[in-house]
Symmetry: C2
DNA sequence: GTTTTTATGGTACAAAGGTATCATAAAAAA
DNA sequence: TTTTTTATGATACCTTTGTACCATAAAAAC
């Protein structure tokens, strides 16, 4: 048989090229020809590894979700020691969700494009992306629960509601930064302003 | 000369058809032929009134912003008497931003589609939409200022930061409801949970 | 009533994009 | 070495889409 190739790795490469195209020229311009050119291969190869465009788009959502998860984990590990305080973890997560460099800006822009597309295209299933968001909310809620146990959480606050709120606040601020209504600095100020009340040092 | 027609009203009709198509089948499917069919006129007419597709898309942003503003005003007037309390006004605004019926859901979905598109297509100027959002933030900040004057605002809270926060929270919750992560009821609960702390009765 | 300007319809054309087809290189297995 | 299966390239085709062109109806002005 032929030179055996790791199909999954090949698909990851193609998905990476797709995300670069989507970040730069929009998801609607992530056609087979554009992605092939970006990935440095022929259109036929993309067809060979994915068959149809839609399956390529679907696979790219998994790739995007995985990379977002990796980035969040890396930032958490980079900022926290062996026994991270809940506030440190939460702040790392929320900061990661803000577009403060070109990479995170691209991620968020592509995520928004997928999200908007999924609203009217039921065939496009973005479960990988939404599950990733749900997981983040659970981590925040857990950390708030830990904080309450150790008396760090302001009395009268509900961990679940606060977790939902922080996630929504962070998403909204991400939009505002993406759209140019707020700077990353303003967004971080607002997040800390809230965390100061929720988890006073 | 010919039967004179109100061009602007005609453009409004076309923009309405465009928004309906965008809400139902996605902004990427709002082509000249689809919009013409939805509006019940020929493709040639759309060209006559707009010339190019991009100008049609641009005009539709103004139409969308205007209708969102009208809806918000209507809701505020419906809920508030002659001397509306700040909390009442703010709650009406934030509730309006949530997709709780098919109309507001359509509005928000199309808004999200435009926003995502504008991130990678610099030619698409969505100033009408962003200015509308900015105006809402200013109204909230003003109302919080009024509340502070009359002692209704919890001491130590900054009206501007809180206005930014509420707007971002509301936008994030709108996304969550659109995406199915939260119900409208949960979103309203979270908003009231925060307003209770900010403007205690 | 003729003319002139606006409004509207039908259609053709060129580009783009997704998919299918034909062909071939390459390497493992016999 | 031959064969068989995988991997890759080039390209043709059909549909969609934005735009341009040609024609005509309708009404105001003279």
């Amino acid at each position: 048989m032929p030179k055996v190739v790791d199909h999954d790795q090949r698909r990851q490469e193609i998905a990476g090229a797709l995300l670069r195209v989507a970040a730069g020229r929009g998801l609607h311009n992530a056609g087979l020809r554009e992605v092939a050119a970006e990935a440095g291969m022929s259109v036929r190869l993309i067809q060979y590894y994915f068959g149809t465009k839609e399956q390529m788009l679907l696979f790219a959502t998994q790739h995007l979700a995985a990379r977002m998860g990796e980035r969040a984990m890396a930032r958490i590990r980079a900022r926290t020691g062996e026994t991270p305080a809940p506030r440190t973890v939460i702040e790392a997560i929320l900061d990661e969700a803000l577009p403060d460099d070109e990479d995170s800006r691209s991620f968020l822009a592509v995520y928004k494009a997928y999200f908007a597309l999924s609203l009217t295209d039921p065939a496009l299933d973005i479960k990988p992306l939404t599950e990733s968001s749900d997981a983040i909310v659970r981590v925040i809620a857990d950390q708030l629960g830990v904080a309450r146990e150790s008396g760090q959480l302001t009395p009268g606050r509900d961990p679940d509601l606060e977790a939902y709120s922080l996630a929504a606040l962070s998403a909204g601020l991400g939009d505002a930064v993406l759209g140019g209504s707020r700077t990353p600095g303003q967004a971080r100020t607002i997040i800390r302003y809230h965390l100061d009340r929720l988890l006073p040092a």
